[in-house]
Amino acid sequence: MALLELKGLNKHFGGLHVTNAVDLALEEGEIHCLIGPNGAGKSTLFRLILGEHRPGSGDIYFAGENITALKSFARIHRGLSVKFQVPGVFKGLSVRQNLEIALQSRHRGGALAREIDRLVTFTGLEAEQAQQAGNLSHGQKQWLEIGMAISLKPRLLLLDEPTAGMSPEETHLTGEMVQRLNADGMTVLAIEHDMAFVRQVARRVTVLHLGQVFAQGSMEQIIADERVAAIYLGQAHA
């Protein structure tokens, strides 16, 4: 059974058809990348999955349950979690406090402190743990937010451009981070522009174009597809 299934999803913003009859099925345990040129409707699709936008028509199934009408926080309780495109950390609070807020509904007391320590190590922010999150570099904010997102132990992790603004080394580290999470059983759906990252982690790739699913397959198939090159890779290499 698919973990996440989108069926005939439609969303209009005024006259703009941003999500056009999108069907997508995500198998449990896969790393799936969503690519496509700017304005393809990738982030909107995330917002639909998370319940920040309501679809005009269509349904969203998570682990067999229709979650189309659920509020965002209720979807999080079902096992969804997200890292936003613009890092959504609590800027005025310390790194540890950020993690504490993410963890406190699952752990208390000494267990909470240990779990915070574990995530501080996982995200590589040991030296910065007492700092205000707003003072972190862009890449560090990305990692902190990934740390917060995975602290919920989600079944499905949504990553919206997890490597934006990162150096090639940082991008590679992030890829390893995602692979480690996946090895522990987490399903990942990532929007990404960085092809090196997509090559590193993706088992399947879906190309969105003008709100529609344009192509789908392994990275090799997508690269071999001339139509995709025309709309996306072609532009990127030009």
């Binding site: 920040e52 926080f73 999080i76 936003f84 807020i101 937010e145």
Partner: protein, 354 residues
Amino acid sequence: MNGLLVFLRRLEGPQTVGHGRAFWIVFAIVLAGACAYPLVADGYTVGNTAYFFVWVFIALSLCLIWGYGGSLSFGQTAFFGIAGYGYGVLTINFGSAYGFTLIALLLAIAIAALFALLLGYFMFFGRIAGVFLGIVTLAVTLMFERFMAQTAGPEWHIGAARLNGFNGMSAMPPITIPWFGEDIVLFADIGLYYFVLGLLVVVYLSLRILMNSAFGNVIVAIRENPERAEMLGYDIRKYQLITFVIGAALAGLSGVLYTAWGQYITPSSMGMTAAALPLIWVAVGGRSDLTSTVIGTLVVLSAFQALTIYGSQYALVFMGVLLVLTVLIAPNGLVLAVMNLLSRLATRGKEGKR
């Protein structure tokens, strides 16, 4: 026992400035000074100080909703008025025997809180936020003022209590504590002073515990980034609503104490000026910290009163200038800036010794 210890440890935490032995020693000295104060001052001055204390609760309510929660509310003044009038109506009708004034105090606060629950439900579950929250709450406050101002006629009464339009309601009994033999009537001097001081200490310490708890964490998280807070699985509307209701209850407490202090309340206590002044106290002190709010409110209030005595026409202008200066020099509050400086100096001193 262990649970109590965990509970008390929350008196300190990242959400409140001031920690460690030095802070609590200063706290104890200030508290002892406040307790001894009536021994050295005359009844009138003590009563006047109690009047300052009365306003601290509404300031704390704003600190909670605005400073910690990030929602600017002009509605505190409305809850202040509702509870004040509520106390008046209840005590004028039912008197002060058998400790009823204390029940009236609680009932009046409950009425304000209930109203906040209703208003807050529509605002937060309707996802009204930011500047629109300010506009809606200001409109509600001014609407109450206008409404109460036109209740001059004899047809406007609740039981024996005449609302009296712009002249306001008066002659309600002061807070009266039932006691063996003779009731203790808390007139606006030493008696009320200790009553309000006791409440102030309890509320201040309780809020410190609340803000350093898991609940406080979520409130601050909503201020910093509501979308992220919701995407960690928190139903932020509920947290915002609860905070709003607690804030309304605190503002209501101010309203009741104010009414009991002067034995009168008027619609202008819900007017534009009345709604703006608490914002200035809290902003000047440091809205995101409880201690800074208390100190800032007391300092600004005393300065304001001194000014109204020596040059009343300039007092409000001065308040405006003070707000502008605060925003320009120390946007997080003057008292908070000083306190942060002190704690930095203290840590540096410690490191120097090592």
